[in-house]
Amino acid sequence: MNEELIVSGRNIPGVDPHLHLWHWQIPLYLFLGGLAAGLIFFASLYVIMGKEDKAPTAIKWASFITPLALVVGLGALFFDLHHKLYFWRLYTTVRLESPMSWGAWTLLLVTPLSIVWSASYLRELVPSWDWKFKWLYDFEAWVIKNRKPFAWLMIFLSVILGIYTGILLSAFNARPLWNTSILGPLFLTSGLSTGAATIMWLSKDHEEKKLFGRIDLLLIAIEIFFIIHMFMGFLSSSQVQQEAASLFLGGEFTVPFWTFVLILGLLVPGFLEVLEWKGYKIPAAVPAFLVLFGGLMFRLIMVEAGQITRYLY
């Protein structure tokens, strides 16, 4: 058999024998960023469409999770930095070629804006809440008056935020598993799906629950379609990408990927949502939890497996 045997004395921690520099922090952030993108997207969408009454949970209650998810995600990102005290260097430059740079700037915009969004609904949910200062009341009134333009801005930012979580990985041509342009739309869809599932879970309104169950079902179908496309792309691509796909098709990530991501994270919740549509009583928490779990597992597995794929050696 023709083969190449490589020997090297190099044994750098985190780099050899294969990269293992990004651990749970990056996938956790990718998950929370996608979740936040999904929550913002649907809240803004229903404000833009003028159908606030159709999605009260999406617009009001669920929007309180958004800043929380973003802050925890940002915390994970910060925790992952090896040169932490220099993090402010992200904000001394704009580098359009680097997805991480425009992602950092998007986060700087979207995090405070998501806090403003939920704060503007606070008095509706907690009527006794007092803002203490007059300028805060004035600011709240201004935000309420400009809900539509605010929602347009947020929906635009949410798509950037959601798609960036995938593009961040797909921009690395050195890691063949990540280096596919379908990863952006795939991560965006997955993020929207986790957002829809969370809204479905939280909603007390029967009609809204049903609505987001349907939306989530559609997103799950699109996600499965994208995953099939991703594998078709890999298998008809260069050798390194075929090897990347083989990690999931008989290789070491086969069992976790197909069990946790495809079956438990997509097929089972999709099936439960279909049953619910047909009139069976399914507690929304079950499919919602599975979608969230699958979303997190998907990112953990992609980040872990991607670092194993390479060109050399």
């Binding site: 490589i6 520099l21 090896h82 992200l90 070629e97 680097s98 050195a174 050399l312």
Partner: protein, 177 residues
């Protein structure tokens, strides 16, 4: 100006002198490396061939590490040398993920570090430390734009290859075969 290095795989004996010289010259911490030796045995028995390579950053013309850096800490200076500004590096590791040659490493102090082609020596007219110490003279360094430079001559005369050209980064280490 286009700095490049040619590595004569027919002369390299894998003594690791280049590795030690680099670690001494550049204060590379224990357990890490800016350059390293790779021994590759390929073929079908009994027709097997061994190749020994002294490897380091390829100082790619289209460097993905520079492209993905969110702060501009990774940059290319005149002569095409890829460098990292330590006090602008946040240690996000994106450049290490982006390198098809795994040529960078996370320095224990937090920033990312890599081969500089010993630009501090080159600016004074000296050779990089690895080139200066190589006992078999298998390393050739210089300006590819200058047809009379050592590296231009060997690259013009000898058969060579670059590693993983399919990664599309236009690497500037030429392995003479």
């Amino acid at each position: 100006m286009r700095y490049a290095m040619a590595i004569d795989t027919k002369k390299c004996v894998g003594c690791s002198d280049c590795v030690v010289a680099c670690q001494t010259e550049n204060n590379v911490p224990m357990g890490f490396a800016r350059d390293w030796i790779v021994e590759s045995v390929a073929g079908t028995y009994p027709r097997v061939e061994m190749e020994i390579r002294s490897e380091r950053c390829n100082h790619c013309e289209d460097a993905p590490c520079v492209r993905c850096c969110p702060t501009g800490a990774s940059h290319i200076i005149e002569g095409g040398v890829v460098l990292v500004k330590h006090d602008a590096c946040i240690g996000c590791m994106a450049c290490i993920e982006a390198c098809p040659y795994d040529a960078r490493y996370p320095h224990p102090d937090g920033y990312v570090d890599k081969c500089t082609f010993c630009i501090h020596r080159v600016d004074k007219g000296e050779d990089p430390a690895c080139v200066a110490v190589c006992p078999t003279h298998c390393l050739h360094f210089g300006d590819l734009d200058d047809p009379n430079s050592d590296v231009s001559k060997v690259v013009a005369e000898r058969k060579w290859k670059v590693l993983a050209p399919e990664a599309g980064t236009k690497p500037q280490l030429y392995f003479l075969m």
